[in-house]
């Protein structure tokens, strides 16, 4: 519902209004937006490891507080890099292989079910195959 007053002639136009949080979209720094735009997890991690990304986390704070926060961020920067490297190690050593292992196990476990589905509903099966299986 909108409450629109009737326009009156010869009056100043209403001043421009601003945007709400929802209308603005995501509120992030340029460096973070770049990192988030990457599609691969590896590139995302690499970009968020940069000093520029870490320093940009203090963006939007008032002057002095921002510089103090950036000083603190520089102090913790080695820990930040180590943290991301640890995350990358876990991701590439456990999570990613784990995903494929689970996929393979599931493939074998659900083999009979899939074959039954193929026999009973061949059209649906073919449709599903086209939609979800990557070549």
């Amino acid at each position: 519902m909108t409450a629109v007053p009737p326009p009156a002639p010869g009056e100043p136009p209403p001043p421009q209004r601003g945007l709400t949080r929802e209308e603005h979209g995501r509120d992030v720094s340029a460096a973070q937006a770049e990192a988030e735009a990457e599609t691969s997890t590896g590139m995302k991690m690499l970009k968020s490891m940069s000093l520029r990304f870490v320093l940009s986390q203090a963006e939007g704070y008032p002057v002095v507080i921002k510089q103090f926060l950036q000083f603190c961020l520089i102090l913790i920067y080695p820990a930040w890099v180590f943290g991301i490297l640890a995350m990358a190690a876990i991701y590439y050593a456990i999570l990613l292989p784990g995903y494929y292992v689970l996929l393979a196990v599931g493939w074998v476990v659900f083999w009979p079910l899939r074959m039954q589905q193929k026999k009973k509903n061949p059209e649906e099966y073919e449709e599903y195959r086209k939609k979800y299986w990557r070549r």
């Binding site: 519902m1 909108t2 409450a3 629109v4 007053p5 009737p6 326009p7 009156a8 009056e11 100043p12 209403p14 001043p15 421009q16 209004r17 601003g18 945007l19 709400t20 949080r21 209308e23 603005h24 995501r26 509120d27 992030v28 720094s29 973070q32 968020s48 990304f53 940009s56 986390q57 203090a58 963006e59 939007g60 704070y61 008032p62």
Partner: protein, 277 residues
Amino acid sequence: MQAIVATDKPIDKVSVATLEWGYTNFYRYRWAGRADAAAAAGNDSWLMMDQVGTDAGSEKDTEDWVAVTKVELPIGTSEFTGGSSSFTVPSWAPGSSDALARWSARVTIERGGRDIDARADFTVVIGTDDLQVTDAPPLRTGGDGDTELDIVVPSLVFRAGETVSGSVVLTPRKDMSDAELGIYWCWNRSSHPLVRTPAAGGGGKSGQTIKLGKGIPLRDGTPITVPFAVPLPGDAPPTGEAVHSSLTWFLEASMMYSKWTQGIEKVRRQIVVVNAP
């Protein structure tokens, strides 16, 4: 509206004297950092609730002056002795309230020496005839919609202090357990500053729930109408849209099924509140 600026004695060394008509707009904004920064991730999680270093306190209330008309007051030979100006409140003006806007005439005198800033406040009241209202459908704010709630009101515009009489129509989509129904008024302020980062929410207030009935049977195909009367507060801030924030009024009906697994249903209907006596 007429403003007269008077001085006890002439003010000297004046370079510019301006009189501004406008309002002080109240709103909330975010002062501390980017809302979606990676460093702030997890702040909203259940685990981090109330903890030091999280997002609590990152938003605060503030106010900004919005000038509608600016008038240069005549100054003689760099000496200001007084002046006057008249102003017609525009039709789109947001009504005066502590939540949205405080209208005033403001004089600023720039001079060699201490500048002078003075203001006089006035109240803008919104009347029923000042608005053209278009209706919006009621909005479901909670529940699964197994029972459709409709809030029927005789008109869309109400005066502060008036009692809103209407009815809630309950239309069950299937057999449900008995219901307990309540209704209350609420207003929300949304924050949309021009320059600053808006706060996620702008604040608001809601009235006490008025209980309308208990054990209301909800059977498929039998809609039930429950009448209600909700008194609006006498000092209700009027509906309005300003530059940095706007204020919206609702009636919200809240229904609870007696079987707790069926949950609740909540529907809000937008109304317009004016403050002209």
